[in-house]
Subunit: 242 residues, 2 copies
C-alpha cells in the first residue's frame, strides 16, 4: 500500500531574498506525515507569473497533491490565483460566493470592500473554496492543487480545515535511538542493517552536545512491527545507547 | 547589469518528513543577497539517487550556480557525491587529496580512518575541494555545482570559505516602511507606485501586533537612488507611517 504523494510550492520573493524565513513547509511536512501523505518535494519560487504557471503544471502532473502558500492577498504582487488557473487551464475572475464571504466580513468590521480587497475574490472557475477562519479571504482547491495564504497562522488554519477532506494512507511510524558515537563509528553496522531491512528507512543525524559527538539514528516505516524489529537490532548493536 | 543567479537544492528525507527544520536555505538566501547573487529558486528533495541526478542536472542548466546541502557524510544514506558526479557526467571515487585531509584529521584525534569515514573522500574527478574547518571532510565544486554538508554549522563554515571565490553583482539595497493600516487599505496606491517604478521590487507583508493589523512595505533594487525615490514617495502616501 503506497501513501498518496504531495509537493509544496512556496511562492514569494521575500523567502528567496532571506527577508522572511518560511515556516509553512515545515508545518506542512509534519502534518502530512501524521496524516499518511508523503511530502516528496518542496520548491520555493519568486512572485513571477510564468514561473508559478510552470511549476504548478509540473508538480500537479507529478504528484497526487500540490499545496501552495503565498500570493493570494489584495496587493499588486498577489498573482497566485491567475497563475494557478492558467496552469490548470481554468478561467479566473471575481466569484460571487467569495465576494459574499468578503462582503459579510468587511460589513461586520465596518470596512469598505474596495477594489484591492475585491482581488481576494478572484477564484478560478470550478475551484472549491478553502475556509479562512482568521481573515475570511478564502483559499481554493482546483484539481489537485490546494492554494493557501502565506501568513503562517492563516496557512495553518486553512490546512486544518482542508486536511480531513483528503484521503491519507498509513501514518509513518518512527522511532529513534541516541548513540553517543560519531557517524563514522556506527556507519558500517548501520549500513548492513539498512540493507537487511529495505522496508524501513534508516537515517543517521549527527549531533554535538556538551562536547560529545553522537548520532541520532531514526527508523521510519508504515509497518510498526518492522520499526520495532529494527529498533531491537539497533539496541543489540549499540548496547550503550539510550 | 544583471546579477548572477543561483538555485539551492536541500537533500534529505528528514527535511520532508518534518523531523528536521531546514535552516541552510534561509542562511544561503541572506548571504547571497548581500553578495549580489540572486537566489532564484530552492528545492527540497529526498535521499534518492535518481531524483538528485535529475534535479542537479536541471538546476545546473538553468542557473549560474547551484548550492546543495546534505548527503556527504559517512553513512549508507549519504549518496550526494555520486549523484552529482553522474548529473555532471564525471567519474567519482576515493580521491587522494581528500583522503590525505581525512587521514591527517583522524590521526590527530587518534581515531581510525575506517571504511565508512573513507566514504567522505569520494570526490568527482575534476572537482575543486571546499574546505571544512569544522570536521575536515571536504565539500566540492564541480562545474557550477557547490556541494556542501547538511549540518548547519558546517554548511555555514563551508559557504564562508567558498563565497569570496564567486563573482557577485551589485548587492540589493532594501528599505522598509511600517504602515499601521491593513494591506487592503494601502494596496491601491501601492500598486500605482509599483507600476510607476518598474526598477524597484515593491512588496507588502501583513503583520498583526498588539491588536493592530498593519503592513510592512519593502522596496528592493540594485539601484539605491531608486529605492530612496520610492521611499520618499511612500512617506508622502502614508505620512502617519514610520
Amino acid at each position: 500500500m503506497t501513501n498518496p504523494t504531495a509537493a509544496m510550492l512556496v511562492i514569494g520573493d521575500e523567502i528567496l531574498s532571506g527577508r522572511t524565513r518560511d515556516s509553512n513547509m515545515h508545518h506542512l511536512a509534519t502534518v502530512l506525515t501524521q496524516h499518511g501523505v508523503t511530502l516528496a518535494e518542496a520548491r520555493m519560487i519568486s512572485d513571477d507569473h510564468a514561473s508559478i504557471v510552470r511549476h504548478v503544471a509540473e508538480l500537479s502532473e507529478a504528484f497526487d497533491h500540490v499545496f501552495t502558500s503565498g500570493g493570494i492577498g489584495p496587493t499588486h504582487d498577489d498573482i497566485t490565483a491567475e497563475a494557478v488557473a492558467q496552469a490548470m487551464g481554468a478561467a479566473c475572475g471575481i466569484r460571487d460566493d467569495a465576494r459574499a464571504i468578503l462582503q459579510a466580513h468587511y460589513d461586520k468590521s465596518g470596512q469598505e470592500l474596495n477594489e484591492a480587497r475585491l482581488r481576494m475574490a478572484r477564484i478560478p472557475d470550478g475551484a472549491a473554496l478553502i475556509d479562512n477562519p482568521i481573515s475570511a479571504a478564502p483559499g481554493f482547491t482546483l484539481g489537485n492543487v490546494h492554494v493557501m495564504a502565506g501568513v503562517p497562522t492563516i496557512f495553518e488554519a486553512m490546512l486544518k480545515g482542508l486536511l480531513p477532506t483528503l484521503t491519507g494512507g498509513a501514518p509513518m511510524v518512527s522511532a529513534s535511538l541516541r548513540v553517543e558515537r560519531g557517524e563514522g563509528d556506527i556507519a558500517g553496522p548501520l549500513g548492513d542493517l539498512a540493507e537487511a531491512n529495505p522496508d524501513v528507512s534508516l537515517g543517521s543525524y549527527p549531533f554535538t552536545q556538551n562536547g560529545i559527538h553522537g548520532s541520532n539514528v531514526v527508523a521510519r516505516s508504515q509497518d510498526g512491527a518492522a520499526v520495532d524489529r529494527v529498533m531491537t537490532a539497533l539496541g543489540a548493536l549499540f548496547p550503550e545507547a539510550r
